[in-house]
């Protein structure tokens, strides 16, 4: 860094002393603040700007000077766009959803009428079909999560600690490849797999068995397939970070393979499992297309919302709050375990 760099036109002399030590620490990474750490000898040339023609040459200079002395405005300006995105578009739509849940519809035209009523919530809480659907969906989401975790553990172990680099790359592609295919294509493939007399039935026929057909089992398998990469990738990368000598130490002390996995690997992998489970759980909770195609007559939260969205949007909105609450509780429990600190 040359002295000239520190003395850009319009650099306010008092700025050298303006920031308090607290702000200094906070902004130490900002390039402009490196000027603060310049040796005292540059102070000699400090007066140059005043002799170098007009100081307020451009608007950009004005703005940068204005922002420089007002760190709060600076931070606000930087965060305004992302905050708008989060606040207006993201949370705003959630707020609208919440408001709509208190509205009602015209019984004939099924047009939405803005009015305050608790009818939709009463309906959801008193009608057993909604409770059964909510519980069923949570059950399915948990099953998908457990199944994904159970599959990700051995796969992660093999990929991170056993497989050759070539094999590892191949498996990594294998895990992520399904993400490149269209969602509907994958769901429809599973629909064909589970169809009566379809590939699964054909495969199981020699053993005298048949596929589960469309229903909850088929739905859990399809969703596990869809969301498995979101569990497998964090578990695999967490496995790679565990030093091999921990495993060696464990076996030196006489632990068998399973004991090593159980007492060494799983506790270290817990954050990865929880991070992965947030994806598998919440994605399964919100899915409805898979349920429509392979779920047979299984109703989940998503299908109930989808069937009400045309006829009774406020009821759909009220029911849409259920998965939000469930996910918030899930995140809260995950936070309590401390796993989110690693994210």
């Amino acid at each position: 860094m040359t002295p000239k760099h520190h003395l850009a036109p319009g650099f306010p002399p008092f700025a050298f002393f303006a920031p308090t030590s607290k702000e200094d620490r906070r902004d130490s990474s900002a390039p402009a603040m490196t000027a603060l750490k310049t040796p005292p000898d540059t102070a000699v040339t400090r007066t140059i700007p005043t002799t170098q023609g007009p100081r307020n040459s451009s608007l950009a200079d004005k703005i940068s000077r204005y922002l420089y002395i007002r760190p709060k405005v600076r931070v606000t300006g930087l965060l305004l766009l992302p905050l708008l995105w989060l606040g207006v578009l993201y949370l705003g739509s959630l707020a609208l959803l919440f408001i709509t849940a208190f509205w009602t519809t015209d019984s004939f035209t099924s047009k939405v009428i803005p009015a305050f009523t608790l009818e939709n919530f009463t309906e959801i809480l008193t009608q057993p079909a909604y409770q059964a659907t909510a519980l069923r969906t949570i059950g399915i989401a948990l099953a998908v999560t457990v199944l994904s975790a159970a599959l990700a553990l051995p796969l992660g172990l093999y990929m991170a600690k056993v497989a050759s680099p070539k094999m590892r790359a191949l498996l990594a592609i294998g895990i992520t490849l399904p993400l490149w295919a269209g969602y509907l294509v994958k769901v429809f493939s599973w629909r064909i797999i589970f169809s009566t007399g379809g590939p699964l039935d054909w495969l199981l026929a020699p053993f005298g068995a048949s596929g589960p057909g469309y229903g909850t089992t088929a739905l859990v398998i399809t969703l596990t397939y869809q969301w498995f990469p979101y569990m497998a990738v964090p578990v695999y990368s967490a496995f790679r970070q565990i030093p091999v000598n921990l495993f060696d130490a464990s076996s030196d002390l006489g632990a068998k393979s399973w004991a090593t996995v159980r007492t060494i690997a799983i506790p270290l992998l817990k954050p990865a499992f929880i991070a992965g489970s947030i994806f598998t759980f919440s994605l399964s909770l919100g899915d409805y297309i898979a349920a429509q195609f392979v779920g047979g007559k299984t109703q989940v939260i998503g299908t109930v919302i989808a069937s009400n969205i045309n006829l009774n949007p406020p009821l759909a909105a009220a029911f849409g709050i259920v998965p939000i609450i469930v996910v918030v509780i899930y995140l809260f429990l995950a936070r309590k375990t401390g796993a989110l600190k690693a994210l």
Binding site: I99, D106, F116, A132, S195, T196, G197, G213, V304, S307
Partner: protein
């Protein structure tokens, strides 16, 4: 720290403001009768706007991409220079919702959708003088309650048909004549029955009850009082134990019935036709109990941005030639009388689908939106409206 504490408070304050503001607007409510907004009618058909956006049932607007033999869009596009953008609607409810968005110019509305659209002010009256082919519509389809209100015409009829019982001949050896096997808890086809996924399907249960439990006193499946609705829901819950799949996507229905995942169930003739075109062993029948059905009309959006192309399409689709193609592709009775003439094929088709046989259609209960006023003529009873049907439907599917 101050900000984080103030944020929820501010959110709460703004929320209550919004709620209060919304509450103010709730004064306007609809009475028992059907109020129809006064909307202007087109007076002339001008230059084409270059495109027309249509929501239609599967098989109504075909450009040869689903079935190479079904194409009446390409010629229209060439002749009028209106590009047709089609969206297939799965249920009447979806169509109503999409029409409210205002992006679509035309909809092929069934009776249960059309009343809601008219009353909601979503569709404009049609000037039939701008549609030369309107004069050839069969009498049975003119002036129906569900597309003609207060002396104004809102729809240009396309055709009508019944929701048939379709069955896979590999699994159902003997041609069925009754719906009974699709409703019974001890059905031999338990687990392989398919049913239509919409609250309007409650009417199918009511039709069955009319035949099997006359003491319930149902005379019109769309006029059910509380007890009658409860009986229908009971029957549907029984059916739920034997149903394998509910469908509302025509292509899903095709895959289900032709693969044998479903053995029999309610369907549309177009599903049967598509399945047969793919080599599926599927047949259909109109059972002795009668059936629900539909009568569809083209309706133009009140917010249409392409009214000229929309009128051109309505006239095009009502011409004898195109109407015959649509009717034969979907498997329904055409609306245009002349679509039953001109060729042996046309005549046979109209005979099969009883195009001009009004007695036949007395057995078929055309989809209508259920309202509080009993449309079967009872004055002392209050009937259940579609919202109650919607809630009942959620209960049925559990």
């Amino acid at each position: 720290m101050k900000i984080t504490k103030a944020l929820p408070l501010a959110a709460l304050a703004s929320l209550s403001l919004v709620l209060a503001a919304c509450g103010g607007g709730a004064g306007a409510s609809t009475g028992g009768g059907i109020q129809v907004p006064d909307l202007p009618t087109a007076t002339e058909v001008g230059e084409s706007e270059g495109q027309v956006n249509i929501i239609a049932w599967a098989g109504f607007v075909e450009d040869g991409s689903t079935n190479p033999n079904a194409d009446w869009v390409s010629a229209f596009e060439k002749e009028t220079s209106c590009t047709v953008n089609r969206k297939v609607g799965a249920t009447s409810d979806e169509m109503v919702q999409l029409m409210r968005g205002g992006e679509y110019d035309l909809v092929s509305a069934s009776g249960d959708a059309s009343l809601r659209l008219i009353a909601g002010g979503d569709v404009a009256p049609v000037n039939t003088e701008l549609i030369p082919n309107f004069g050839n519509i069969v009498d049975g389809l003119k002036g129906q309650i569900y597309d003609n209100l207060n002396g104004k015409t809102y729809g240009v009829p396309i055709g009508r048909g019944a929701n048939v019982l379709m069955y896979n001949t590999d699994l159902v050896k003997e041609a069925p004549t009754s719906w009974a096997d699709t409703w019974a808890a001890d059905s031999p086809y338990k687990g392989s029955i398919m049913a239509y996924d919409s609250p309007i399907f409650i009417a199918d249960a009511a039709v069955q009850l009319m035949a099997t439990q006359p003491d319930l006193g149902i005379t019109n499946p769309y006029a059910l009082d509380k007890d009658q609705l409860a009986a229908a829901v009971e029957l549907l819950k029984t059916q739920n134990t034997v149903v394998g799949e509910y469908w509302n996507d025509a292509l899903k229905a095709v895959s289900s019935i032709s693969s044998g995942t479903s053995a029999l169930g309610t369907g549309w003739q177009v599903v049967v036709n598509l399945a047969q075109a793919d080599g599926g062993k599927v047949e259909s029948v109109l059972p002795k109990e009668g059936a629900t059905g539909w009568s569809d009309t083209w309706m133009i959006s009140a917010k249409s941005k392409n009214p000229n192309c929309a009128y051109k399409w309505m006239d095009w689709a009502s011409s004898a030639d195109v109407n015959a193609k649509i009717a034969q592709n979907f498997g329904m009775a055409p609306a245009n009388k002349l679509a039953c003439e001109g060729s042996k094929e046309n005549e046979t088709h109209c005979e099969t689908f009883h195009a001009t046989d009004e007695d036949y259609y007395k057995q078929v209960w055309m989809w209508t939106t259920p309202v509080e006023q009993c449309i079967d003529g009872r004055t002392e009873a209050t009937c259940t409206n579609y919202q109650e049907w919607t809630k009942a439907w959620t209960e049925v599917k559990g």
